[in-house]
Symmetry: C2
DNA sequence: AAGTTCATGGTACGGTCGTATCACAAAATA
DNA sequence: TATTTTGTGATACGACCGTACCATGAACTT
């Protein structure tokens, strides 16, 4: 049976099994045995490709963040041919809201990881600084471009605005996740704020 | 030894032990034995006052939310004699940011509970709808009053603005928690947004 | 062809966790 | 004073969980 196998691919499959089962039952309730069963392999195999649970979790987080980053930038680029910068800004912010199953799982797990990272240096190290800062840079750049095209209201600080919008989107996301808020109302809130940043009817 | 004892008080002491130890090591890592040790009682006693771990967690969340609600409204009222409504709005939003130890622990644990509530109906039921909605009502009311005094920029929707600000504050809070953002930068972001809501120089 | 490496299965071990059980003394009740 | 209730201790049980160990056959190397 043992023909040579692509380790990277295997690890990805297992990591995605982790994400699926954690999305269903919560990250805290996931054990190696669950991941193995979900991936359709034996417990031994999970141990073989990841030696320890911590390494599995770490890889799972990296994989999750990477996949979601791709998803977001795909949507932003898809909105590139629309009316203008505002469409891209909206695409970026809305893609991060937990509206469908994939983004919901992402939000759920990313928040789980964030909570764990408070007490776990290994988890804290990597993606919780790098990843959101990248998003913030991208959004700030979009806003700056809009500003140069005189599409924004005066007095807007692109960097501060980017940070605020991202934080708001994250906060609304958790609101949706815990059932406090509907996706529609979250969208309305974001929309209202964008209306106060972007010039509605121009000069 | 057994003189009659105030159950409510005992339960509160144990719940606060839970909050302390969970604040240090993370909610996921807390067991009944840890809570017992932190409270200085035997495991049996924790079982005696809360029959099950789920009930302990539930009570702990309620207690946490209640205590923090009191803290926030105390700060808001303390700001009541300052310049005007904006001071109260700022007090409300800033009190929710994890700047000191207490608010940091609150943010940490509240987010932990929020994540758990996604897969736990008992946890989801109570405070994740009621509590933030109350804050939103209070903030919306403050904004509406400011609006009637013509202190806000035109075109501001008090309700949407309240929801947005609260979400932003929550999002910034997590940013601080995971070390992505400093309290100062979070304050700056909030301040900038309030400057765009409140009229800076008046009529 | 022989030997080594790789992928995989099965299973056991030590620890911890939530919960249940047994025991007992101090207070309240009668 | 006799009895029931209440608060507390110690400890045991069964279930998991992460990890380690042993085995084994296919594939590659020489």
């Amino acid at each position: 049976m043992p023909k040579r196998v692509d380790h990277a691919e295997r690890r990805t499959e297992i990591a995605e099994a982790l994400v699926r089962v954690a999305g269903r039952r919560g990250l805290h309730a996931v054990g190696m045995r669950d991941v193995a069963a979900e991936a359709g392999v034996s417990l031994r195999l999970v141990q073989y490709y990841f030696q320890t649970k911590e390494k599995l979790l770490l890889f799972g987080l990296e994989h999750l963040a990477e996949r979601f980053g791709e998803r977001v930038s795909a949507r932003v680029q898809a909105a590139g041919d629309s009316p203008g910068p505002r469409a891209m800004v909206e695409a970026l912010l809305m893609a991060a809201l937990p509206t469908d199953d994939e983004s919901r799982t992402f939000h759920h797990l990313y928040t789980s990881y964030a909570v764990l990272s408070v007490n776990d240096r290994a988890l804290a190290a990597q993606p919780f600084i790098k990843n959101p800062d990248a998003a913030e840079d991208a959004l700030a750049e979009l806003l700056r471009q809009a500003q140069e095209s005189a599409l924004l209201e005066p007095g807007v600080d692109a960097r501060l605005e980017a940070a605020g919008l991202l934080a708001m989107s994250a906060g609304l996301g958790t609101g949706i996740l815990v059932g406090q808020r509907t996706p529609e109302s979250a969208t309305a809130v974001l929309e209202h704020h964008l209306n106060r940043i972007f010039r509605t009817r121009d000069a």
